[in-house]
C-alpha cells in the first residue's frame, strides 16, 4: 500500500487514456476528461504518459503516505499541493514532482481554474486492467478502484517502478483558458437544423449549467431550433458531440458518454479541443466556432506538436526549490 485515503474529496477516480475497442458492445471510452494534463502529470513522475492516475475534482482528496517513500505530481491546475510532515505544512507548486515519506499527509488545494486536476503517482496507480484500461466507468461500476470513486479508508498502491532520478518540473505550464473557444465540425444530424441554428450556435457564448458529470454537460444559451421535427434513429456518439434535446439547449458529451444516442447531434467538438471541453466547470462560459474536417485534423497535429514542445520543457528540479506557508 502506498497511500491511505483519509478524505476522498468531491469525486476522485482512477483514469488513464480510456478504453478502446469495445464501443460496439456499448462500453464507453471513459478515461481522463483532460487527457493533456493526465499525460503531463504522468511524465512528471517518469511514468508512461498513459499510466493510471487520480482525476480529482475540487475539493480534492487527502491522502496519507503509507509506504517508505512515494513520488507524486499534480497537473491541470495552478493550485498547489499541501504536504503536512510532522508539524510542518509545506506547499508545493503543481506541475512538478514531489517526494514524500511515510506519514506525510498530502492534499490538493481547492481549485477553481478547471473541473479536473490530475495527481500522478510514480509507477502508476495499481488497479487491474478491465477491457484494456484502468479507467473507472462509474455508471457501469467497473474499472479503476472497484468501479467507483475513492472512499475514505481505501488503500491505493503504486505499481512497481525503478529507482527514480531527480524530481522534474514543467517550465511554463499551460495557461488554462477559462473562456475557451471550442472548434467543431458539423455533426451527423446538422442537416436537421436550419442554417439559422448553425449560425446561432456560434453567435453568442453558452454557459455550463450545474448539470455536469463525466458523461456530459448541459449548456444554457441560444436555443437551437430544428428545421424538421420527427424522430431519428439512434446512432453512434463520441465525447465532444453536441446533442440537442427537444428543449433546444445543447448537451456537450464527455468521456463517459453513451456509445449511441437518439438526440440529433448538431456538431462535434474537434479532438484537439476535447481536453478543453473536459475542463469546463459549472458556470464556465464557452464559445463555439465552425471548422472544416481538414482544419480539425491539422489542429490535432498542431496540438500534438505543442504537447511535445511542452514535454521538451520538462526539466530537473533545482534542489531546495520550495516555499513554505
Amino acid at each position: 500500500m502506498t497511500f491511505e485515503v483519509l478524505d476522498p474529496g468531491l469525486q476522485t477516480t482512477v483514469q488513464d487514456l480510456g478504453r478502446r475497442g469495445h464501443l460496439a458492445l456499448g462500453v464507453p471510452l471513459s478515461g481522463a476528461l483532460d487527457a493533456t494534463s493526465l499525460r503531463l502529470a504522468n511524465l512528471l513522475v517518469d511514468n508512461g504518459e498513459g499510466a493510471a492516475a487520480l482525476e480529482c475534482r475540487s475539493p480534492g482528496p487527502v491522502l496519507r503516505v503509507s509506504a517508505p517513500s512515494a513520488r507524486i505530481a499534480l497537473a491541470g491546475t495552478a493550485a498547489p499541493l499541501i504536504v503536512e510532515r510532522g508539524g510542518d505544512v509545506v506547499e508545493w507548486p503543481s506541475w512538478r514532482s514531489v517526494d514524500l515519506v511515510e506519514g506525510d499527509i498530502v492534499r490538493v488545494a481547492p481549485f477553481a481554474d478547471t473541473a479536473v486536476a490530475y495527481l500522478a503517482i510514480a509507477g502508476g496507480v495499481a488497479v487491474p486492467e478491465v477491457l484494456g484500461s484502468r479507467s473507472t466507468f462509474l455508471r457501469g461500476g467497473f474499472g479503476g478502484l472497484r468501479g467507483r470513486a475513492l472512499k475514505a479508508g481505501d488503500a491505493l498502491s503504486a505499481r512497481d517502478r525503478e529507482r527514480a532520478g531527480p524530481c522534474l518540473t514543467l517550465i511554463q505550464p499551460p495557461l488554462i483558458d477559462e473562456f475557451p473557444t471550442l472548434r467543431m465540425v458539423k455533426g451527423p444530424q446538422a442537416p436537421m437544423f436550419g442554417e439559422s441554428a448553425l449560425i446561432e450556435l456560434v453567435r453568442e457564448s453558452y454557459t455550463v449549467t450545474r448539470d455536469l458529470d463525466r458523461m456530459g454537460a448541459r449548456l444554457s444559451g441560444p436555443e437551437l431550433v430544428r428545421k424538421e421535427s420527427g424522430e431519428m434513429l439512434s446512432d453512434g456518439t463520441v465525447p465532444g458531440a453536441l446533442q440537442v434535446p427537444p428543449s433546444g439547449q445543447p448537451i456537450l458529451l464527455l468521456a463517459d458518454c453513451q456509445t449511441t444516442g437518439g438526440y440529433p447531434k448538431i456538431a462535434t467538438v474537434i479532438s484537439a479541443d476535447v481536453p478543453a471541453a473536459g475542463r469546463l466547470m459549472a458556470g464556465s462560459r464557452v464559445r463555439f466556432a465552425w471548422v472544416e474536417v481538414e482544419e480539425a485534423v491539422d489542429a490535432l497535429g498542431e496540438a500534438e506538436r505543442l504537447f511535445h514542445r511542452r514535454v521538451g520543457m520538462i526539466a530537473t528540479v533545482r534542489e531546495g526549490t520550495r516555499f513554505s506557508c
Binding site: G140, S234, L300, E304
Partner: protein, 206 residues
Amino acid sequence: MSRATNARVVAAAKAIRSANIPGISDVVPAFAALSVHFDPLVVEHSKIVEAIAGIDVFDDADMSAGRFVDIPVLYGGEAGPDLDEVTRETGLSATGIVELHSSAEYHVYMLGFLPGFAYLGDLDEKLRLPRLKTPRTRVPAGSVAIADQTTAIYPLESPGGWRLIGRTPLRLFDHTADPPAVFAAGDRVRFRPVTAMEFARIEAGA
C-alpha cells in the same frame, strides 16, 4: 428502422473490421448508420474513406448470419411491474402479451445506452407503446422491457423509461468475460417464458 438496412450495416462493420486498417480502433453499427473511430495522426481521413470505399461491404449482408441466443424470462409480477399497465393500454391479456413477445425471433440491431444493452426488433405492432412519461430512477439489472418498435434487457441497474414486462436471470454484461456482452449486433434472439422456480434455478446456477 429496417432489418434489411441494418443487416447491411452489420455486414459493413464486419468487412471493415476484417480489413484490419491501421489506426481504426472501433467500428460501431447502429440502426441505419455506422461509426468508424480512427486516429487521424496514424492514418489520414482520406485514406480511411478510400479504404472503406474499396471494401465490397454489401455483398454478404446475410440476415441469418448472427448467432442464436435464447433468453429465459419470468414475465409479470415483481419481475415485470408494467405488464398490467401494458394489458390496459393494448387491450390484450397478460397471457396474450407473453405469447406475442416470446413467439417472435428478434434481430439485434445494435448495442448502446449501457454496456451490453441490445436493441432488439421488431416488436409485434400490437405491443408498441411509447416510453413512460416519467422514467424510473432505478431499473433492476435483467429487466426485460419494451418501447415503440423495440424490446431490450437492462444489463445493469440504471435509470430507464422503458416498460418493464419481465426479468431474465442471465447476466448480460460481465466485464471479466470475453466477450463481455452476451449480444452482438446481428445476433438472433428468442425469449422463453420460465416459472419463478426455473428463474431461481437458473439464477443460482449462473
